[in-house]
Structure formats: structure tokens, C-alpha cells
Symmetry: C2
Subunit: 347 residues, 2 copies
DNA sequence: GTTTCGGCTGGAAGCGCTTCCAGTGGCTCA
DNA sequence: TGAGCCACTGGAAGCGCTTCCAGCCGAAAC
């Protein structure tokens, strides 16, 4: 398998020893305690702080994380738990935004974010091992599918946790979410308002709360309008699923004149199927999506969709976690962020 | 911004204190030293090992990572450095494979992988801060663009490092790579073999070694065949770039009868542009890609492409790093893995 | 001039683990 | 029977940091 292995003997020097607080203190002419206080904002005279600061720079001192963690009984790291297999994660814009937002928030707060994924070969165990290892102070969980073992695991990990997206069962974890139900309702009302009367719903998997909530919103709108809701087909939040479900829909429910797709990807897949079947969007069938990610304006016709504030959502989760770490108290939750219908061409 | 903040008073109990080695030792009726040895495979009688194992289970003991790290002077964590902004990373199949492979390899070796991305607002500093914090034993760097500050940074971090993909300048870092040049050559030879004489190359950015090497392979094939190479257009390794470059190509070099695209994404984008322009693939223009990711069989016509063994590549990098951590020595490098031309419909 | 106070300080005791070192006891071998 | 080994063990000394606790000093209060 290996083609070439020419071997220029190791060129990389062994890492030089790092300076310790002791050395900094000595170099600054103060005690270790004072140096420590000066660095971490405890009581210390201006002169001491200054001397320590200078010594720190002179020696290139960087505090040892393990030692600090040991002494303070905290790791200053938090886990971003995404119980999905890596291959999936890398195609989901939602997770991309969540990851980068949470990471940025952590860095700003002096915390180290760590991504915890699931090893497909050994799903529960990798997470368990990580969380129980006591190397994080808390966790932010997202993209959570209803899954007893994992949920139990998170509970027994006895770590503070925040969920992004309502946990499926009433597990008592603090969480933030968007107004899925209201958003779905407004999307459906938009379709009803345009005179559509045979509206189908393409849904993500019902093991996720978002899918359930959006379906309920879809039903709410129908109930209020006194219109019989069309079929609700369950799949996944992906384009591929949209394609498949839309094909099935055309075959089984030819009277359908509108689709509420629970994600932009589902909508995009559906539009692909509709177009392939010679149906015009929005004339023959109107389509509304959910997300307002970049896909929404990359497909033709551009998607009418329910915009959800993912950045704010992730930020809220991070704030909740960070606040708890700092104060020991949970801030207000659940925080439910509003969605907004963005009308474009597809409906 | 926040819609609802009903607040069920904090329901999450404070984490219970964890058992320590001392307690395990006492419970097992041995000394702490013996317990430590029993757990980490040092010399210890079978009876002692067994007693400690049982006590460990009874007490739910999990070793404290910080304490262990402090005592052993190592963190048992390694950084996967991807100097890209998060938004980019999440759409790259190469990185998806690398990430999951490296993670799995680390877990297997008892190491904690940590993803280090670039904060777009503060590119160098986030990495610097992380690496200098001394919380990893080594790093695996990939998707590296030529970038002096970052390269210097990696050097001064004085951590053992392995690159996936040849570092642009001869920086002396151990690395693994695929045979980019040979792969590109074989792709080009395939096109020449089919009688194409006006072959263009759509390239990724030349600040990455892969783009340079693949271009060189493209030229190699032409030189050997005594054929004048067509233009080489530089962009990025993305579908969008493929679309744009192919349009330009059609306008500026209408005689072109084949395209060697340096990635599947580039090829897919190019095919989209060609199809839109009414050109038939492969009849009017043949297209060869590079990667053999899932895109290759998702576009129409299916891509003839150069398959690269990304999983093996990532595994090799992880092995190199892990080996160094265990032995203090670098294994053979560079390891250059072979590519293979997969012939499908597009050429 | 003495007491009181408050701001700073250094010493020392850990945090939970690893590992060196000097045993201890049971064996084998002469 | 005693010397010599060997396998195993516990004590103790750290790893580098934080933090409690006295103690010191000068300034304010009496």
C-alpha cells in the first residue's frame, strides 16, 4: 500500500521544557502565590502584577492546563456532543453554524470546546468514555435523536448539560430551541392563504423533536382554517429524502397542490422530483421549506422558507452553559427563539 | 429576540464527587501505588489486579485526566489542526474522512483527538493560543495552505507534528501524501489515450501542494506524449469554482476537447457548466476528476476519476503520530500512497 | 502613643495521580 | 542452612498550580 518511504532522519527537535510559575515568580522577585494571584486577577499590588507580567513575557510562560485543572477542580473545557456519525455531520449546515458559533463563544469565555461525535462502530461507548473521563466541565448537546441509552448516559454523566433543540422526552435538561411549531404553522398558513387546499408535509424523522413540533404546527394551521390536512410523510431532513418522499407523494396523492417541507434540503429534493416529473413549481405545486440556509437561494425556483436563527440559538445555548459554569445557576430556560417566513418564488 | 423564557427552576443536581484512586486502593485493600500499577499495567500480582478491578467497578472509578497528565507530563491528547474556517470544513468530504479516521485511530490508542479550527476573525491567534497552551502532545495538520505566519507558528509550538499532504515549503515536517503527480499523470494519459489533444486542467489553488503536484502530473503526461498541454486554470477545489472555470474555458478556449479537473467537485461543477452550454460529456468534452468521492457517482454522467485512499492516508498520519508519541522516534516518512484511475462514463 | 484595620504577602497544604526506591517475603540453589 | 533472587509491595516525593491562613506593615482611629 505504501509507495515510497524515503526517510530523512527525524528533523524535529524535542520540545524544550516550559517555564513554570515558580520560575516566573522567582524571576519577578515575588512568591509563587503572589505570581498566581497576579496572573489570575486575585489581590495583588500593581507593582507585583507588573513585575509578574514582565517575567511572564520574558520567560514565555504558559500556565500548565493540567496543573491548573487539578488545583481548581475544573477543566475549563466543554464538550459539544453531536450524537451522529462523522460522515453525516459534515454535510449539515445547521451543525456547521452551531459548531462554529459555540466554538467562538467558548474561546471568548476562556473555555476549550471539544467536539464529541459518535463512533459508528460503537456509538454509545465513545461518548460514555469521553464524558465519564471527567475532562469537561459541561456539555452542549445537539442533533439529538430520541435514544434511551444515550439519554441515560448523559444523565449519569452527571455533568451540566444544555440541549440545542428540545430533548424528545421530558428529560429535564435545560434547552434552547426555535419556535418550530409556530414557524411551521405560519408556513402552512401562507400556503392556505394562497388558496392551496391539499397540502402535504414532508417530515424529518419523528425521533427528533423538531420534526414532531413542525408537524404539529402544520396541523395547527389546518385545524384553525378548518381544512383537512394532507398526508405527512416521514423521512429524514435530507435532500435525498425529499426526492424519495416527493416521488411517493406524487404517486400516492396526485391531488396534492402544495408541500410544506420541514427543511430546505427536503424542499430542494422535492423540487428536484417535481421538476423531473414535469410539475411546475409553484404553479402546479407550491413548496415551502424550513431553515433558510444557502440552499434556499441556490435552488430554482428560490425557496419560500421559514428562517430560523441558528447562530442566535447556538449562542444562547453557549451563554446558558457558560453562565452556569460561572455562577453555578441556570439562567432562564427554555429560550425559544422566533422564526420568520421568508417569501421567495417557490410558494 | 427571545420569545419565551418560562423558567422551571434548575432541575439538574450538582455532580456528585468522583471516587479517587486512594479510595479504590483502600477498598481493594492495597496501597495507592499498587492500585495505580494494577490499573496501568505495571507489575502487580494477579490477586491485586483483580481486587483493584473489582473495586474500580464497585466505586465507578474513573481516573482523573488532569492528575494523570500532570504526573506523567503528557496530556494524551492530540490536535487535529485544520487551518480553515468552520463554514468551509463542513462541506469537504476529504476532511470528513480525515476527521473521522483520525478520531477513531486516536480513540483506539487511548488518545483524545481535538479539532482545532481557525476563527475567521482571528486566524492565527486561535491556533496559537491552543497549541501553546500545552494541552496536546502532538498535532496532525491537514488542508494546509501556504501561509508563513501559521507555518512559523506550528514550528514555534515545538510540538511533534505530522502533515497530511505535503507542506508547501520544505518545512521539514513529517508528512504523508497520495501520489498526486502520478495520479494526475495517469488521468491525463487516459485522456490522451482516447485521442484527446486539447486538454485543459482545472486546478485548485496553487497555495496547496496538491494543486501544484497535480498540475505537474498533467504536464508530465503531455511532455511524455509530445503533446502541447492546454491551459491550466486556477481556482479552488470546489464545484462552484468548477462551474466558473469551465465557463471561462469554453469562452476562451473553444477548441478544448477534454478537461482534467483536480477534484470531483471541480469536475461536477464543470459538467454542470458544459451541460448548460449544450456540450455533451464525454462526446464533445471528456472530463476526468480526482478523489472518487460519492459525488463521482452522483453526477451524470458518472465521473471517471482518480481514486485516492483518504482513509489510509489519514490512518497513516495517525499511525505516524501515535508511533512517535509511543517511541519518541519518527517512523518512515514521507509515505506516499498510490492512486488509481477509475474509469466510468465521463471520459 | 497604642490599638485597629485593611491591603498584600509568603508559607504550606493540597488537587489525584505516577513512579522511584527501599524493603519484604517466599523461592531456589549451593 | 544460609546466601542470593525475584516478584511484588507500600511509602514518599513529586508533577505545576491554586488557595487558605497567618503574618506583616503602614495608615487611620482612638
Amino acid at each position: 500500500m505504501i509507495l515510497s518511504v524515503a526517510s530523512p532522519a527525524s528533523a524535529v527537535p524535542p520540545p524544550p521544557r516550559r517555564a513554570t510559575l515558580d520560575e516566573v515568580a522567582r524571576s519577578a522577585g515575588v512568591s509563587r502565590s503572589t505570581a498566581s494571584r497576579a496572573l489570575s486577577g486575585g489581590v495583588a499590588s500593581a507593582a507585583a502584577v507588573d513585575a509578574v507580567r514582565r517575567a511572564t513575557e520574558r520567560l514565555g510562560f504558559v500556565p500548565n492546563r493540567a496543573a491548573r485543572g487539578l488545583a481548581r477542580q475544573r477543566t475549563d473545557a466543554i464538550a459539544l456532543v453531536i450524537p451522529e456519525t462523522p460522515s453525516f455531520i459534515f454535510y449539515d449546515p445547521f451543525l456547521a453554524i452551531v459548531t462554529s458559533t459555540v466554538s467562538a463563544a467558548c474561546w471568548k469565555a476562556g473555555l476549550q470546546p471539544m467536539m464529541v461525535l459518535m463512533d459508528p462502530d460503537d456509538p454509545v461507548h465513545t461518548i460514555e468514555r469521553f464524558l465519564h473521563l471527567g475532562n469537561v466541565d459541561g456539555m452542549i448537546v445537539t442533533s439529538f435523536h430520541h435514544n434511551r441509552p444515550v439519554e441515560d448516559l448523559l444523565k449519569t454523566a452527571s455533568l451540566p448539560a444544555v440541549f440545542i433543540g428540545r430533548p424528545p422526552s421530558g428529560s429535564g435538561f435545560p434547552y434552547v430551541d426555535v419556535a418550530n411549531r409556530a414557524g411551521a404553522r405560519s408556513a402552512t398558513e401562507h400556503l392556505l392563504g394562497r388558496g392551496r387546499r391539499h397540502i402535504a408535509c414532508l417530515s424529518g424523522s419523528f425521533d427528533m423533536a423538531a420534526a414532531v413540533d413542525r408537524r404539529d404546527g402544520f396541523w395547527d394551521a389546518h385545524r384553525s382554517a378548518g381544512v383537512e390536512p394532507g398526508p405527512c410523510l416521514e423521512g429524514a431532513f435530507t435532500a435525498r429524502s425529499g426526492l424519495i418522499l416527493a416521488r411517493r407523494l406524487l404517486a400516492e396523492h396526485p391531488e396534492t397542490d402544495a408541500i410544506f417541507a420541514q427543511s430546505d434540503a427536503l424542499a430542494a429534493g422535492a423540487i428536484q422530483a417535481l421538476t423531473a416529473a414535469g410539475r411546475l413549481v409553484p404553479d402546479d405545486l407550491a413548496v415551502v421549506g424550513f431553515d433558510d440556509f444557502s440552499t434556499a437561494t441556490e435552488v430554482f425556483p428560490n425557496l419560500t422558507t421559514v428562517a430560523q436563527p441558528v447562530t442566535e440559538l447556538a449562542q444562547a445555548a453557549a451563554d446558558l452553559m457558560i453562565g452556569h459554569l460561572e455562577t453555578g445557576q441556570w439562567g432562564d430556560w427554555p429560550q425559544i427563539l422566533p422564526t420568520e417566513l421568508v417569501v421567495r418564488q417557490s410558494a
